[in-house]
Symmetry: D2
Subunit: 333 residues, 4 copies
């Protein structure tokens, strides 16, 4: 019973069906009707003109976004525990040609205007210092915390005041929106976000993520960069089809709600053991090595996180019985 | 009736079936059984120990290979009409951090030891000059020509003598091997090739290519680079599944043979119009603008190539009746 | 008697004196009065507002200019024999993060609007192709030819029409202006040049070149890039002092005139042997290996260029008697 | 009376004399006798075979060293307050093509095996994580502390055990050696250092630093990289001449001793105000804004460092009377 991550879950049947439906001859690259329809479809979803480019991985989405917002000689403020800092093998540095990540603090991997200002206020505007050009936040965060529209707007206000771009890593954007109950617009461009990595793979897709630019002109250069990075699939329609299937009938929200609900069950069982409030589909809880071993002995797989902490992640398809069994086992610790 | 390219053809049913079969929970990234089995499977195919990494595009395969063979301050000899020079949006320069492509000549986009030596002999070993570190050839070439094992071996000998790595862009490797009737080994490592971009997408896959290193140690660094380029899929099993399906029962060769046979039909009809011998699945023929228009009027789509030339490409699924109709139409020009 | 190159000539006594005069405590980097005065001094020379940054080498000047005019995913049109292509060890690719050099033709290493258009017209605007973003010309060229203001303006017009930046490698700019007898403005910004590498080292300085931007805003980012490239000297006043000494009393033009005059003497002696008209301080002439050996036997050092060609370069300090002796020796061949 | 930094001090008369003596025609680049003699001269100084390359700035020396020790996808452990992290405008990322700096802690900007291990032990060997490939330490440090041979050897032992390269930023190496009274070997290669940035500019030179490789083969690639970075001066003899003048008769040590002695005078006056022990030529002391203002009112210039701290730096030429006056003024605070 795997609670390692949502990143290896099976593909949702509707996505598989969409792939099958796309399996006819069509124009190459992103010239097919599905790919060409993404801008309009996402513009409708976000209630503003956006440009939406498919890419195969979240790392690719994040790093193309960062490259659009930060020059090679610039820097990007992110949380010390951000995925772009710790889990992308230096891809941000590769795509930006060596921009520097400035590490800020905040509980639950959430930045605040104050923690960002702490970092950038310490950097004089001087050629000897790498200058900040962008901020990157993750929603839901690497610890399953969710930024509210107001929280994002506060950061967006700081970004605008300092002339910085604002990127949102939305590998679990669906989980955040499902929790917030707000419009996708409220927590992105209305709050000052310039570019969103809109994740689908962790939420039921096979290999398609979207990079959404709320200033569509930013996409112009990125289309060249996407090709230059070897990311322009010749059969792009199979990526677009995945995205469209996820958006149809709000499958993306339904899947996220399912995963979030399962995590809530585990959170309820964990009670005082919780390290962070559970606001999405990740549950971090305190467990001694013996307790972790006891859970594993019952057949549950998961990550050991920091010392004395374990991470449990639910997915769109986490079986109800397995979740119930795990909740029970946690209660019995 | 599309003869634009093989790069947008539908996905073969056996590949679709393999994707469906892979649609269960498994380990993330390349930790799944399918991905883990690639080295052994490809080692068996090539009759030597190889390391095989899946990537989603041919550009990614080519450029990771080049980065493994050439440092940022080095250069790569390729044909003036090579895909890496003209059709990858600068991806070789991105992945290698700015290596230079040295352009050599040769009929049908085929290099020879002499045409390569012309280029490298003109470069003194001097810090002012970018030094060649690798050679890249394409088999089958961008004009549908095929290098024989002996021809590759002659280039491989030069590469070894000069201390250069040798990369083969095999976007249409299957078509070449189908024509040659040789073992995959004969035209690669036995002939001095260090790294092969083994293409499947043009031949019936959806989004999976293989980067095969005949010196497995070269893969060690490349695994980091693959992640750093945003190419490490979290659900890698769906890439490995495509490759394995293509290899099962020699589907890759069957598909290539089918495409080649269709191209041969067109070649027979084209006769003296042919610009290059047809040795794979691409047919370049002389046609005036009026003649090209006449073909289009009959419903055939294709690329205008150089002035007075058109390019017709067949795929694994090119319908027999459409090919016959096109052959007839060519004959009537 | 050395006629290898002007790049190793001694430093002019007035430059040495200026270094001695600068040898007092002053503000670091480019905060000293000499460095701070460069913009005004060069603006006066060019009759328009410019930004002028010292750098230690011509390669650094060229490559910072190219990086300002071309993004990493773009390309730069230059002559096939341009210094940036052949003699800078890949520095353009390093500074631009992998931009591609497109090689155009032209006699005497001179580009024309037609030869440039031949290159760029062949590149469709398509993400698969690296797009041209800039043109780089050398004045005087690598073969000692000089672009007139009209010739530059014709290229400048093309650059503007196509939205391309225009860079002039002026390693021997002084020699060109000395020959043309025009204002520095006429052959640069008035003709559409955006950035000039204004060379002093080959003309009597020790280690200072200037990068002059005719759109001063381009310098803003370049100041960061200059530091990032390790080129921001802490004792920058010794670079500024060299430049100012070269500009005082038109020393730069006097030195260039002297070198040009010496080359003209050699050209007169060479007569029909000349490969290119001699318009600056380089003389290319046809000489058999035996003839070259005969000159060397008399104590003259120089480069063998292409087969059957030798290159002779005069400098600001070429001794009159040595030049006369060489002219005589050429006449006796 | 300037105590801002040693980086803008005048050039020592013996260096100026050496420049004048070098002012004759010689071979270009590093082909002159002075440049060619550096390897032997430095090998003698260090008592082992080294390769020594001149470069014009400390940033260039540091970053070429880092590029030799760390691949683009790797990382370098340095102190949180290291010059390469805070004061080089992202040059390490530029030269290494995007390697990541890992920030470690330690009093006085000194790393210890333990503080380094804290950083690298937290990084699993996994393609998702940038892997450490090198360690960089500064001696004397950014706070004027000195690593002893034993301290360096302890770090060198860790580096060797973990397969990491070890770089020493020796912008003030002379000051450290002057304090230690050891051989240059004892604190470098004998202690496991692979590459040293041997600084001269802060110590009386004009524009020459040395990059010393204790594994000479590392220099082979670096020679290409130096050219590629636009750092290969055509008149390199003027750089070599500076270095040789600094080494003659131990001028480098005499100058450093002079600067250190002046700093010791200030340290004695500062007493309990000292933030760090004064072991080289930098003095950090606690001073309220009013106290700092009082010093400035007496004509002393210096940096405000952290809140309530000021930095005073002495140079080879700090006038005895000014230092005495400053010491007195500090005593009177």
């Amino acid at each position: 019973m795997r609670f390692f991550s949502d990143n290896a879950a099976p593909v949702h049947p509707q996505v598989m069906a969409a792939l099958a439906a796309a399996n006819t001859l069509d124009t190459a690259y992103d010239g097919d009707a599905r790919s060409q329809g993404l801008d309009a479809r996402l513009s409708a979803l976000f209630g503003t003109d956006v440009a939406a480019l498919w890419v195969p991985t979240g790392t690719a989405a994040n790093c193309l976004a960062l490259a659009a917002l930060c020059p090679p000689h610039g820097g990007i403020v992110c949380h010390r525990d951000a995925h772009i800092q710790n889990d992308e093998g230096g891809a941000p540095e590769f795509y930006t040609h060596g921009a520097k990540l400035f590490l800020a603090d905040g509980k639950g991997a959430k930045l605040t205007p104050a923690s960002i200002a702490d970092v950038i206020d310490a950097i004089p505007d001087d050629v000897h210092r790498v200058q900040p050009h962008a901020i990157s936040i993750t929603n839901a965060t690497e610890y399953g915390r969710v930024y509210t529209p107001d929280e994002v707007a506060a950061i967006g206000g700081l970004a605008k005041a300092r002339g910085l771009g604002l990127h949102m890593d939305g590998a679990r954007f669906a989980n955040a929106v499902a929790t917030l109950g707000c419009t996708p617009a409220a927590v992105t461009w209305e709050a000052g976000v310039d570019a969103l990595s809109f994740g689908f793979v962790k939420n039921g897709a096979m290999s398609a993520e979207l990079l959404v630019f709320f200033t569509p002109a930013l996409a112009d250069v990125t289309r060249y960069r996407r090709k230059r990075a070897g990311l322009l699939f010749s059969k792009g329609r199979y990526l677009a089809a995945q995205v469209l299937a996820m958006l149809d009938d709000d499958l993306w929200l339904d899947n996220a709600r399912a995963a979030n609900a399962r995590a809530a069950e585990l959170a309820a069982a964990a009670g005082a053991r919780l390290v962070h409030p559970v606001e999405a589909n990740e549950v971090f809880l305190r467990a001694t090595p013996d307790e972790a071993a006891a859970l594993r002995a019952k057949g549950f797989d998961f990550y050991d996180w920091a010392a004395g902490e374990i991470r449990l992640v639910t997915a769109w398809d986490s079986p109800a019985d397995q979740v119930a069994a795990l909740a029970q086992a946690i209660g019995q610790l």
